[in-house]
Amino acid sequence: MQIEVIINDKAMALRVGKAEFLADALRRYGFCSVRKGCDTTCCGLCSVWIDGQPTLSCAVLAIRVDGKTVTTLEGVAAEAEAFAKVLAAEGAEQCGFCSPGFIMTVLAMKRELTAPSDEEIIHYLTGNLCRCTGYMGQLRAVKTYLGVAKDA
């Protein structure tokens, strides 16, 4: 069936299957930043924004975003790159497979929280798993990016 959706500020008509998840549909339409890591809504890799809210696209049927706005990493490229540079300076992107979902959540957090504490940052990002970095470098990068690091 066909749905009308605004993806990254552009109106698009997508043909999607009845049981197709948004993550699969987005990848099929070339939004390759969207990754899947678990199929059980545990890992956060597929995080995109639906109407501005960070959402796991592997658990949302594509037909449910009919009439909504979807933002992937490709839609916030400049902002994502600014943070990615901070992340890279820490060496904390590592294999990079979880980075797009992680960055989408970080950028959403920036919009939502003001000068968050370590605990608030960790809580906000808990749904985004990473197996390479051990999270500490990501936390340092987030704090530097948000300007809440002690030495920032």
Binding site: C32, S33, V34, R35, G37, C38, D39, T40, C42, C43, L45, T72, L73, E74, A77, A80, E81, A84, K85, L87, A88, A89, E90, G91, A92, E93, Q94, C95, G96, F97, C98, S99, P100, I103, I122, H123, L125, T126, G127, N128, L129, C130, R131, C132, T133, G134, Y135, M136, G137, L139
Partner: protein, 763 residues
């Protein structure tokens, strides 16, 4: 140094972070056939009959392959240098299935939906056998897991095929029993380490197609492209010259991708159909149908004299390799290799035991590779010995550890070690003097304690693995560094470029790194065994030195000067007096496209006769909730000696990541099966890797040593960093609660029950 020991960002950092199409699945042909695997519902069975006729009639199905359609030659999927020490005990599809999830049929269709539909139309008739699930009862069990007559071993690994024993191993120096009998104090304990999953974020995947000459091209998320090529040649019975394996960016490996997994399934579909094919394992298959860490049971006996010198180390082991023998004998041997040399006041040491087949998912390589299992057992025993001797475990270690310049009783000479300094620094960072051994009450039924452990690993496989590197000087003055190692995200491509740039006094961005493609890259066994910095790194240094010398010779000719009179400084080569000079870019251009007719390159192959160990001291502070038994890591300190640190930021992240993976192994990660052999932990819902809230604060420090056989004095860092959390956390739990947990993971129920039992005994 200009490039080495600098925290430069990874050269591929931004495309990786920004979701560019650089991974295997992103690069696959959109029209590729989708490959799916029909899997065994039984832990042990023989396929009596398999009927795929209905599936084949389904529109959109390209092929269905059963054991009748594949070559009848056994092979191993272990990524090891030829001849592999792992037994050739696999077929692409075997009429006998040996674990729940073992492959029964390969289905390829135009899309996933059709392939799944086709799988359901395949009719399989099984003769179900009695499965062997308990590895302590596997040896000599009535069921013989590999009864086939064509199983082959390249070496004598002590296999007793009809007894389900894959490998038997013994290392012994001195008379352990006699020395133990003389010891004033002997501690003995049996430890269990569990199967652990790699849980890399990118699951296993590959795609394949035939190129313009009809050669098979396989693009795979693998750590071992050259080994995969050899595996495919044998498994599919085609010449290796007809196969090209390409490794794009990898979304994590941790040793899982050191074992071949999916490549043969899509490759055989491409060979049978002539069409492009792709296979992407979902998370359930990745957990349940690939490999995990070898679960082990290790009984340790330590003997010490009254002065606190450890005189005897005796470890008896049993390892569970599951249905196939990938890395079975080698992981087991490493248990001894990385424990027996660690304490060097010993008079006798021994490690012995066997590896058995069971009807569970096979075990394979995983970061730490036996040192993790051995480290948990040995270090827990050392901590127990310290309690019996009533000495500080840090002091006990400092008194007994092998030191720089010493040779162990097993014959291992340590050229570089800063482990003593690692311990001292770690103690300061965790606040050992204030916190050990005092149990701290935190209120609300919570108590805190600290614990520690040290371990060693290796750097590459001594005398076996060799890596080649080539550096080409291009017409524009840039360099192309060709290597066959496989950056899994650690930044190895970047640090190898840093090394090349250091030798050539070049800017990092003038080094173009190409890896890995078996058609283009020089041979490299791949990235495993903590080898890339140390082995491939040395090959890069040698290749760069050779190229540098050639450039100097050409500069001398061009300048009509004596090569010995020339200096190379950044962008130019000049005479010492400075009267003659030439810009490198001009020389490059002249040599390649002008009158020189000589594009220069440097090539080198390096293998090391030794595998110098990196060392780590790990310190844990935990908080135990006595009401539930839940253990939380408050703080973890890892202090590492990896020789010279080539890129401090990237090394630090490796230490932090490995420490967290070790914390996961210590506390929550557990591959479990039900009574029928079904894996119960095949999703992130049941298999709990640490999240951000589970790791406390991790502090990292380096104590550099200089390894004379390594590039710029470097050793390795990738594996050793996972090893200390299990024993250090178990020790911290003891110091907090008074109970030793000897079976990983340290789940709340185990702690709670042990505490209850202890209190019961005390009352």
């Amino acid at each position: 140094m200009r490039n080495v020991s600098k925290s430069v960002p990874k050269t591929d950092a931004l495309p990786l972070a920004l979701g560019k199409p650089v991974y295997t699945e992103d690069l696959a042909d959109a029209n590729a056939l989708v490959v799916k695997i029909l899997r065994s519902p039984h832990a042990f069975a023989r396929i009596k009959q398999i009927d795929a006729s209905k599936a084949l009639k389904l529109e959109g199905v390209a092929c269905v392959l059963t054991h009748n359609d594949v070559p009848d030659v056994r092979f191993t999927l272990a990524g090891q240098s030829y001849p592999e020490p792992s037994p050739y005990d696999r077929l692409v599809l075997d009429p006998i299935v040996r674990y729940v999830g073992d492959e029964v049929a390969i289905v390829a269709a135009v899309d996933e939906k059709t392939a799944v539909k086709a799988m359901k139309l395949i009719k399989v008739d099984y003769e179900v056998y009695q499965a062997v699930l308990d590895f302590e009862k596997a040896a000599g069990a009535a069921s013989i897991i590999h009864p086939e007559s064509d199983l082959h071993c390249n070496f004598d690994i002590g296999m007793k095929q009809m007894e389900n024993v894959v490998s038997t191993h013994k290392t012994e120096v001195g008379d352990v029993e006699a020395v133990l009998a003389e010891c004033a104090v002997v501690v003995e304990e049996t430890y269990h380490t569990q199967a652990q999953a790699h849980a890399m974020m990118e699951t296993y995947r590959a795609f394949s197609h035939l190129d313009h000459t009809g050669r098979l091209v396989v693009v795979s998320s693998t750590q071992i492209p050259f080994h995969v090529r050899r595996q495919l040649a044998r498994a599919l019975q085609i010449p290796a010259s007809r196969i090209r394996v390409i490794k794009p960016r990898i979304g994590g490996g941790f040793g899982g991708k050191q074992t071949g997994v999916v490549e043969m399934f899509c490759a055989i579909v491409t060979l049978k159909t002539g069409k492009a094919a792709k296979i992407v394992y979902d998370r359930k298959e990745t957990f349940g149908c690939t490999t995990s860490r070898h679960a082990m049971k290790l009984t340790v006996r330590l003997g010490a004299d009254l002065e606190g010198y450890i005189r005897a180390v005796d470890i008896q082991g049993l390892s569970d390799t599951g249905a196939y023998g990938e890395h079975a004998s080698t992981v087991f041997a490493v248990v001894g290799d990385k424990t027996l040399p660690l304490y060097n006041k010993t008079k006798a040491v021994r490690f012995y035991g066997q590896v058995v087949y069971t009807n569970k998912m096979p075990a394979g390589a995983l970061r730490g590779y036996g040192a993790t299992q051995g480290g948990f057992a040995l270090e827990s025993a050392v901590n127990k010995l310290a309690v019996v001797l009533k000495v500080d475990p840090a002091e006990l270690r400092l008194k007994n550890l092998i030191r720089e310049g010493e040779t162990s009783v097993t014959g291992k000479t340590i050229n570089s070690s800063a482990l003593d300094r690692c311990i001292i620094t770690g103690k300061e960072l965790i606040g050992w003097q204030e916190k050990y051994p005092t149990r701290k009450e935190c209120g609300a039924g919570k108590v805190r304690g600290v614990g520690m452990a040290v371990t060693m690993q290796g750097s590459g496989i001594a005398g076996i693995d060799t890596a080649a590197a080539e550096i080409r000087w291009n017409d524009d003055g840039n360099y192309t560094l060709l290597i066959g190692s496989t950056d899994m995200g650690t930044g190895s491509d970047t640090i190898l470029a840093q090394m090349a740039a250091e030798v050539l006094d070049a800017e990092l961005d003038s080094i173009i790194v190409h890896a890995a493609d078996t058609d283009v890259s020089p041979y490299d066994p791949g990235s495993y065994a903590s080898s890339t910095t140390y082995v491939t790194g040395m090959a890069v240094v040698k290749a760069a030195q050779e190229l540098k010398q050639k450039i100097m010779e050409q500069a001398a000719l061009h300048l009509a000067a004596d090569a010995a009179d020339l200096v190379w400084e950044r962008e130019e080569i000049r005479t010492l007096r400075g009267d003659k000079r030439i810009e490198l870019i001009s020389l490059a251009n002249l040599l390649v496209s002008g009158r020189g007719k000589m594009q220069l390159s440097g090539t080198a192959t390096h293998g090391s006769p030794v595998s110098p160990p990196p060392f780590i001291a790990g310190f844990a502070e935990v908080e135990v909730d006595l009401a539930t038994g839940k253990v939380a890591v408050v703080e973890y300190v890892s202090v590492v000696d990896c020789g010279t640190v080539i890129n401090p930021n990237l090394a630090r992240i490796q230490v932090e990541g490995g420490t967290v993976q070790g914390i996961g192994m210590a506390l929550t990660e557990d591959v479990r099966y039900d009574r029928r052999g079904m894996m119960q932990t095949n999703s992130f819902m049941q298999y709990k890797i640490p999240s951000r809230k589970d790791v406390g604060e991790i502090k990292v420090a380096f104590e550099a040593s200089h390894e004379p056989t390594g590039p710029f004095g470097a050793k390795s860092v990738g594996e050793v960093v996972i090893n200390t959390p299990p024993p250090a956390i178990a020790h911290a739990v003891y110091n907090a609660t008074g109970v030793w947990i000897t079976e990983l993971p340290i789940l709340p129920e185990k702690v709670w029950q042990a505490v209850q039992k202890k209190q019961g005994n005390e009352e």
